[in-house]
């Protein structure tokens, strides 16, 4: 699924990869692929992640991983970093999710009473990137659907999600709900429907798999 999500990135894009699963997308971008990765703590042009023995103590991404620069990288302060986000210069962000609703609402920062570390930069990424996609397991650890007819957890942003990549499927959020676009190899449409907590619109034509 991470490899499939990586194909969402088009040449020339400015992209922010959220903490967790989305960060792994970087491993599927080849050294000569033209893309500019942004991190909220003040860098455009993220280079490969480094092990501690090679790390620069002053060079991390927003998730705290030690990263490197590329020829052409730039550093800036936190206000500039979010000016970039809010003003529409971010073509794509890939985020994790607790819940995605079939109207595009996203909840990914707080589980009341259990998990409330703060929202970080998530609201601005979800609200202002030109395209927002989610990279997540299709269900939570208890097997409950993460794709639902409405979010029950506090929202990160409303109607922001365009596409969801999961271990089972690629699903678009359209004007009338979830549309199945692709299935993972060996996964049936029935299995995807079963694991999804909202109606799933399935085209009549055969679906590609990834």
């Amino acid at each position: 699924m991470v490899a499939r999500a990586a194909r969402e990135i088009q040449p020339g894009m400015v992209v922010n990869l959220g903490i967790g699963l989305p960060t792994r997308v970087i491993n599927y971008l080849s050294a000569d692929f033209p893309v500019c990765l942004h991190t909220e703590n003040g860098l455009t042009g993220i280079g490969p992640t480094l092990p501690p023995e090679q790390a620069d103590r002053n060079l991390i991404d927003a998730g705290g991983a030690y990263v490197s620069t590329l020829p052409g990288s730039a550093f800036f302060d936190s206000a500039t970093s979010f000016a970039l986000v809010r003003s529409g210069r971010l073509d794509l962000t890939m985020l994790g999710a607790f819940e995605v609703a079939d109207n595009g609402d996203l909840a990914n920062w707080k589980i009341p009473g259990k998990f409330s570390p703060g929202v970080g930069g998530g609201i601005e990424l979800a609200q202002k990137a030109r395209r927002v996609v989610v990279l997540t397991t299709h269900t939570d650890r208890a097997g409950n659907p993460k794709l639902k007819d409405r979010c029950t957890l506090p929202l990160t942003a409303r109607r922001c999600i365009g596409r969801v990549f999961t271990d089972l499927a690629v699903i678009d959020v359209g004007p009338n709900g979830f549309h199945l676009v692709e299935t993972a190899q060996g996964v049936s449409v029935a299995e995807v429907k079963e694991a999804t907590g909202a109606p799933l619109i399935v085209p009549d034509t055969p679906l590609p798999s990834f």
Binding site: G42, P52, A55, F82, G121, P154
Partner: protein, 230 residues
């Protein structure tokens, strides 16, 4: 003419911070966090502080020392995910925490430093972060009024400084430091390398010394500044 000398010892720089002060701390994770100045503030002992910092560092690092010594009453921040103690203190009501969206915190500080009263934004509309905030219709859109943020004191970390307080940061250690440098009544910077006047080329300065009140040189860097071994 000659630019004034703002060098001071760390203890003297911190000495006038009173109980109940609002203190901005630079840094995002380890890079840019003024660990030595934070230790000096712990030794100084001012209590009932409002701390403004992007994050609460990790256990036994930076802000965590101020939490352990119970000097913090209130924390204005964006994310506490790497510090379980901060989350515990928040959940048990021992500190008050105000979460801001990260870019909104940065911009509130920038506005404070720019002499503005606040700004309008649609960030957070429709989420609980907008609850209780003043909303206006402006430019055909519903927008939140975000007030500017200032502090009594800002504690900053720079890679290089000169004796007038001109500052240069490196890599992702810049983050909130240049914003906070403009948004506090008293700005104190620690520098890894303190140069004589002229040691920093005018074109290479990120924060003009005119914003900085005191500058102090770090000796050898403590373990807290090093690469975190996870």
């Amino acid at each position: 003419m000659k630019l004034p000398d703002k060098q001071i010892s760390m203890e003297d720089a911190i000495a006038h911070i009173g109980d109940g002060a609002t203190v901005m701390l630079g840094g995002f994770g380890v890079p840019g966090t003024p660990f030595a100045l934070i230790h000096a503030l712990v030794r100084h002992g001012a209590r009932d502080l409002t701390i403004i910092k992007n994050d609460a560092n990790e256990p036994d690092m930076g802000v965590d020392h101020l939490l352990k010594s119970r000097q913090v009453a209130r924390l204005i921040t964006t994310h506490l995910g790497l510090n379980g103690r901060a989350i515990e203190l928040m959940n048990s009501g021992k500190i008050e925490v105000e979460f801001n969206a990260q870019g909104i915190l940065a911009e509130r500080i920038r506005a404070g430093g720019a002499g503005l009263g606040g700004f309008l934004t649609d960030i957070g509309i429709g989420t609980e972060l907008a609850e209780g905030k003043q909303v206006v219709e402006f430019g055909g859109k519903t927008q939140i009024i975000e007030p500017a943020l200032r502090a009594d004191v800002a504690l900053l970390h720079a890679a290089r400084a000169d004796s007038f307080g001109n500052l240069a940061y490196v890599a992702t250690a810049r983050n909130f430091n240049p914003l906070m440098a403009m948004a506090a009544d008293c700005v104190i910077a620690e520098a890894e390398c303190l140069l004589p006047l002229g040691g920093l080329a005018a074109d290479d300065i990120h924060t003009a010394g005119v914003f900085v009140d005191h500058v102090t040189e770090l000796g050898s860097l403590s373990e807290e500044y090093a690469v975190v071994q996870r």
